[in-house]
């Protein structure tokens, strides 16, 4: 089931009642989510990603714009008529019911010709429980399960009615680091197996990048960029997206272009023939540095952090907007890391220029 957001806007009355102006939580969101894909809504807290999820679920209705499931306009549908499954951030499992009862609960709401016998419900619940691999815990109470298991039960409960769209609100935020890795694989697998269009919300870019078919980066209610994770990472449309994606984060410099050459401080680091003269923000990914004895960029070495496969080089550069820059290089390339000064050359594809005022990406190619 494809999900279409067509100029969706959601405004809330201002909390501060003296201010008449509404707070725009989601502004003019337009996107067609392809059938069967796994989409991550990503952004810092307060960016409108949860509001967007609630708009799709029907718990909120948009101020303007339309929402379509397939070709059906569901904008005015209440949640129960949309055919969605929603997994809450804190799971919202009913504490007084067993796992089986929790999963069967939505089925008990079916009336008329859809009404199921208890045995049918049980069979259906077991089927779903097997899918999320919690069939061994059917008779336990949620309080007797670990966080990861509770998460699976919540997903099972959301899936049992075969929703057209599955929505997950911060699905991994309540889990510890190890479980998080495992569970996100699990979500990926379940989504692939069921083929249900799935949309999840997260503030953790790694989480979104690792499993999504596409990510939507949001900020202050406005969609910044939509695309495949790697494409958005490699090709951010503005400074915010560039800074938000990637660990360690992108290094940002004050740079200037004159006569087709990019200068960071005194260093003439790259040729950028198509960029007009002026000052820019220059973002360089940590993996965009290469250590070269004759590299054009001079930096003062502060520290080297060896992390097995990679080496993280921490250095200071006068044009850097932060105290130090961080470069990730292969562990094999640690030659020449003894002097106080270190010289880099840059990989052009890992260097992005941004307008100083609008922070919008300035293309370096034609």
């Amino acid at each position: 089931m494809k999900v279409v957001l067509d100029h969706v806007t959601k405004a809330f009355p201002n909390r501060n009642k003296k201010l008449k102006q509404d707070v725009i939580a989601v502004s003019d969101f337009t996107y067609e989510i392809p059938d069967g894909s796994l989409i991550g809504l990503l952004g810092p807290s307060g960016c409108g990603k949860s509001t967007t999820l609630n708009l799709i679920s029907g718990l909120l209705t948009p101020t303007s714009g339309r929402i379509l499931f397939g070709d059906e306009d569901v904008t005015d549908f209440s949640p129960e008529h949309r055919g969605i499954g929603l997994v809450f951030q804190n799971y919202a499992l009913y504490p007084h019911m067993t796992v089986a009862e929790n999963i069967m609960f939505p089925l008990g709401n079916l009336r008329g010709k859809d009404k199921m016998s208890r045995a049918e419900m049980r069979r259906k619940a077991e089927e779903i429980a097997a899918l999320v691999q919690i069939e061994a815990y059917m008779d336990r109470k949620p309080s007797e399960l670990s966080g990861g298991q509770q998460q699976r039960v919540a997903i099972a409960r959301a899936l049992v009615k075969m929703p057209r769209v599955l929505l997950l609100d911060e699905p991994l935020s309540n889990l510890d680091a190890r479980l998080r890795l495992q569970t996100r694989e699990e979500i990926h697998r379940i989504q692939r197996q069921t083929g249900i269009t799935t949309i999840f919300v997260t503030h953790d870019q790694e989480e979104a990048m690792s499993i999504s078919d596409a990510i939507v980066v949001m900020r202050d209610g406005v969609v910044q960029q939509i695309g495949a994770p790697q494409q958005v990472y490699n090709d951010p449309c503005n400074l915010f997206v560039a800074k938000f994606l990637g660990t360690p984060p992108i290094n940002v410099f004050d740079g200037s272009v004159s006569d087709g050459a990019l200068y960071l401080g005194e260093d003439r680091v790259l040729d950028v023939p198509c960029v007009p003269d002026g000052t820019y923000y220059v973002g360089i990914r940590p993996e965009g540095f290469e250590i070269r004895a004759d590299g054009p960029m001079h930096a003062a070495l502060s520290a080297i952090e060896v992390m097995g496969r990679d080496v993280s080089v921490v250095a200071a550069h006068p044009a850097c907007t932060t105290d130090t820059l961080r470069a990730i290089i292969d562990a094999d390339e640690t030659v020449g890391l003894h002097a106080n000064e270190i010289r880099f050359s840059l990989k052009p594809s890992k260097v992005c220029l941004f307008d100083r005022r609008t922070e919008i990406r300035v293309r370096t190619d034609k």
Binding site: M1, T61, E72, D76, F77, S78, E80, H81, R82, G83, G112, K113, D114, E127, A130, L131, L159, M162, P163, R164, Q193, T194, G195, I196, T197
Partner: protein, 296 residues
């Protein structure tokens, strides 16, 4: 493994308009229900006010009671203070309430402090014992207390009224729980500075726990103001009557069933202080009661 295919919901779609009409009707019904109960709650208060400003003559002339007084008068309030010693009842209750509440605070604050902060042998056993005392219904101990007070010849004295009413296990428990929430570091810091326990209790703990102390105080005041059973047992001289006993006396031997407007005036006078207290401390009182108070 079955791969379920997504299905469309078969339910008939319901427009939000239909739902919101139904919701509005439901809300309307709820408002009516709540308002009916509000009326039932408020009507006795209204009725006592209205009756209290009807004149004796006009009240008795009404075969069908009127909802609005035709010729309001404050005469009944004069009667309430002159014909019966209502002012004395009032003063007695004020003394009783103040002293009992103060005495209770003097008893429970050090006890709560000892339980929450001091280490001593037998603390847990003693605290469990205290907790189990909460289960004892007051009706069970009234008998012996009555005999004790009679033997000590404390009947018709303030001491006899106050002493058995002063201690409260529940409030010790409430205060101790609150005291225990204060981080230990504060105590150790004060100790390092050479602060005595007493000074720490008065200067640090009490100010921090002021909200709870205030709540406990208000709840005790309400309890004292409304207490009836014990005062009735130990006082039979009018000079020591509290308002509850006094109003009963007014009803049976004062105005009797004859002068009902004057009786209502007395009821108003008795009820007003607590209602004012409630309206001022509404939040605190309701929170305090929700945390485990019960009536009386």
């Amino acid at each position: 493994m079955t791969c379920p295919t997504p299905t469309t919901p078969q339910n008939v779609r319901r427009t939000t308009d239909g739902a919101s009409v139904r919701r509005r009707v439901l809300h309307g019904c709820i408002y009516v229900l709540l308002s009916v109960w509000a009326l039932i709650v408020l009507f006795p208060f209204y009725w006592m006010l209205v009756t209290s400003i009807k004149s004796y003559g006009s009240y008795n002339a009404e075969h069908i009671p009127t909802l609005f007084p035709s010729s309001p008068t404050l005469e009944n309030y004069m009667d309430a203070f002159t014909a019966v010693p209502l002012a004395d009842y009032f003063l007695n209750t004020l003394i009783f309430t103040t002293v009992t509440t103060a005495l209770m605070l003097i008893i429970i604050i050090p006890a709560a402090f000892a339980f929450s902060r001091l280490q001593f042998r037998g603390k847990n056993v003693l605290f469990t014992l205290f907790l189990s005392l909460m289960m004892i219904p007051s009706e069970l101990v009234v008998i012996t207390n009555f005999v004790t007070v009679t033997n000590l010849e404390l009947r018709n004295t303030f001491a006899g009224l106050i002493l058995p009413s002063a201690a409260s296990v529940f409030y010790i428990y409430l205060l101790k729980e609150n005291f225990s929430q204060i981080p230990d570091e504060l105590y150790w810091a004060a100790k390092v500075d050479g602060t005595t326990d007493l000074k720490y209790l008065l200067r640090v703990m009490l100010p921090i726990c002021r909200p709870t102390v205030v709540t406990v105080t208000i709840l005790k005041i309400i309890e004292c103001w409304n207490s009836y059973v014990w005062p009735r047992l130990v006082t039979d001289e009018e000079a020591y009557y509290l308002v509850s006993v006094g109003i009963q006396e007014i009803r049976e031997n004062g105005f009797g069933r004859e002068n009902i407007p004057a009786m209502m005036a007395a009821v108003v006078v008795i009820s007003v202080p607590l209602i004012v207290l409630f309206l001022i401390f509404r939040k605190k009182i309701m929170e305090g009661v929700a945390r485990g108070g019960t009536k009386g």
